[in-house]
């Protein structure tokens, strides 16, 4: 078949046209957000988390009952329109106590994660950046401390220092920061030999500027993931400790203490155990799913 030449036409090359990026440019975090949004389970976790936090803030005001007021004429009531989640053995409203417990659980989780973040970034950052003997010594110290069984140490500290919110957070963070320190150290170690760090050094930036402007922001992805996954761990530990009788003291309500109180009555008043139990599980679930989703969204190479 013959095709005549006049059917073709020279378009010409426009350099500006060839270099044009047709897709709008995305910042790293926008890209992460788009990937995260595609993950249905993670989005579900995020919504769940938002609801839980909303209820932790406003839940206690939704009922006229107070979490700490005893009402012995109305003890062990089943859930009803009056007491939405029923009452416990001292007649306290379980709905109010549940959301009071949510505040404490989420507070403990976030506080423990933030302290871990602070110590871990400092320790890991210095260790990784300095390198050599400093690194060796700092990491050996972390290794030895890491060998100490976590929960046993926490139990021991709670026995010795006495029960309370502060003690609990302290006990959790004594070995909790090591994980963060290791991750930050690994990141800093691989980043510090990059050209842009060298360029920054040549321009006269000092160590703290390089750390704050280059190394830490570029390590943000694994730091964030580790933090989100620390929170459910801390929430679990609080519930566990309260459940073996080492938690907060009454009338403070945490999910662990509520479950502990409800256990002996499980045969007759199961709701006293079930409401805190369900919310512990839901919260840990939500944080875990969001953490997993974040990890997948931040590091596309790790995706299945």
């Amino acid at each position: 078949m013959q095709i005549s030449k006049d059917k073709f036409q020279l378009v010409g090359t426009k350099i500006s046209e060839a270099e044009k990026i047709s897709k709008p440019s995305l910042s790293f975090w926008k890209d992460v957000f788009i990937r995260f949004r595609k993950n249905k389970l993670a989005m579900f976790g995020l919504v769940l988390l938002a609801i839980l936090i909303f209820m932790a803030i406003f839940g206690p005001y939704m009922t006229e009952y107070d979490y700490a007021t005893n009402d012995l004429t109305n003890k062990n009531q089943a859930p009803s329109s009056e007491h939405w989640f029923g009452t416990d053995d001292l007649g306290r409203d379980v709905f109010a106590r549940t959301w009071e417990g949510a505040r404490i659980s989420i507070f403990i989780g976030v506080a423990a994660a933030l302290i871990d973040l602070f110590i871990g970034v400092l320790w890991g950052g210095i260790s990784g950046y300095k390198g050599g003997r400093t690194d060796e010594m700092m990491m050996r110290f972390a290794d030895v401390l890491y060998g100490v069984p976590y929960l046993l140490l926490v139990i021991l500290l709670m026995v010795v220092l006495g029960q309370g919110l502060g003690t609990m957070i302290l006990a959790m963070t004594i070995t909790g920061w090591i994980n963060m320190a290791r991750i930050v150290r690994g990141q800093v170690l691989s980043l510090k030999s990059q050209e842009y760090v060298l360029a920054s050094k040549t321009l006269g930036a000092n160590t703290s500027r390089i750390m704050a402007k280059h190394l830490i922001p570029n390590s943000m992805a694994p730091i964030l993931v580790t933090m989100t996954l620390t929170i459910p761990n801390a929430i679990f530990t609080e519930a566990f400790l309260s459940f073996i009788g080492l938690g907060l003291t009454p009338p403070l309500a945490s999910w662990g203490t509520m479950a502990n109180d409800g256990l002996p009555a499980i045969r007759y008043y199961p709701w006293r155990l079930f409401f805190p139990a369900i919310f512990i599980s839901l919260t840990i679930f939500a944080f875990n799913v969001v953490g997993d989703g974040l990890r997948d969204a931040l590091d596309p190479r790790l995706r299945k």
Binding site: V148, P149, L153, I155, V159
Partner: protein
């Protein structure tokens, strides 16, 4: 290899020494002395008691005595139960916990592997999603909550299993299941991701190309290599089962070491808390070391000489 084991052993001993020292000093600064709960004792009797338990010596002598005793595997008397020593409690309670723990480990490994392998083979199909939802649920529901749910629905409501106590095999099913739930979920996730990674390797393609069936490829080629990350999880698994037993034994009324430990915490029975903590730490550290060594033997690609500088 010998150098590596020696190095690890040294770290283990340092960690252990740290724990023993910490327990010793923690218990010294803990409020009250072992006899405060008794009626006001005449000073002579209290002095006698102190002398009997060696509490009249200066702290460094007591510390030395304690270290020496631990080395000789003697954890001293219980202050609350006068006729029992901590060693008695351990030899009485540990076998029970051990049986339960072993059952739980078997359950966790068996079901975890099955779930993980199914999920990987049926990647992105409904089997995969179901298995992963079970896994996420298993990780999210703490063992003590799983235990109470199982107890309430399967034992109290339906009466399929006995509610509590430790007598027949049927009595151990629910507690073992509760203990196994979280580690099972972890193993399922680990197995799935490592199976997926292994299945994309070239030698699997070769096996397919030479006409092997899916079953043979999975069993003979994929699983063996996919198991490696699961082996590393055995250390944390032991830890999880051990600490899980504290609450599970209490919920199901099982006279194991975990239940004794929690009781001693409530009673503030300091020598028992100390002794059992040290005992648990020894078991944990030893099992983690064993797992690491086993890992090195199973996978010769792992260089055990320890990380070089800057790695």
């Amino acid at each position: 290899m010998a150098k590596y084991i020696g190095k690890r052993l040294l770290y283990m001993l340092i960690s252990l020494w740290l724990i023993i020292t910490a327990t010793f000093f923690f218990m010294r600064i803990a409020p009250g002395n072992p006899f405060t709960s008794e009626k006001q004792l005449p000073p002579e009797i209290e002095a006698n008691l102190n002398a009997h338990y060696g509490l009249d010596k200066p702290w460094y002598a007591q510390y030395g005595d304690y270290l020496l005793k631990v080395v000789k595997w003697d954890f001293g008397p219980s202050f609350k139960y006068k006729s029992q020593t901590v060693n008695d409690l351990i030899s009485e309670g540990f076998p029970v916990s051990f049986i339960l723990g072993m059952e739980a480990i078997l359950l966790a490994v068996a079901f975890g592997l099955i779930l993980g392998i199914i999920a990987a083979l049926k990647h992105n199909k409904w089997q995969d999603y179901t298995a992963m939802i079970i896994a996420v649920a298993g990780i999210s529901v703490p063992s003590f909550i799983m235990a109470t749910f199982l107890q309430y629905f399967l034992a109290i409501k339906m009466g399929i299993f006995p509610v509590a106590r430790f007598e027949t095999f049927m009595h151990t099913v629910l507690p073992a299941l509760a203990l196994a739930s979280t580690p099972m979920a972890f193993i399922a996730r680990l197995t799935r991701s490592s199976m997926l990674e292994v299945m994309s390797n070239d030698y699997i393609k070769t096996a397919k190309a030479k006409g092997l069936s899916q079953g043979v490829i999975t069993v003979k080629h994929a699983i063996r290599n996919a198991l490696l990350p699961v082996v590393t999880y055995m250390g944390p698994l032991t830890a999880g089962i051990l600490t899980g037993s504290f609450v599970i034994e209490r919920i199901f009324g099982i006279p194991g070491l975990g239940a004794h430990f929690v009781t001693s915490i409530t009673n503030r029975d300091y020598t028992v808390i100390m002794g059992v903590t040290v005992f648990y730490s020894i078991i944990l550290l030893a099992s983690i070391l064993l797992v690491d060594i086993a890992y090195g033997i199973i996978d010769p690609r792992i260089k055990l000489a320890g990380g070089k500088k800057g790695e």
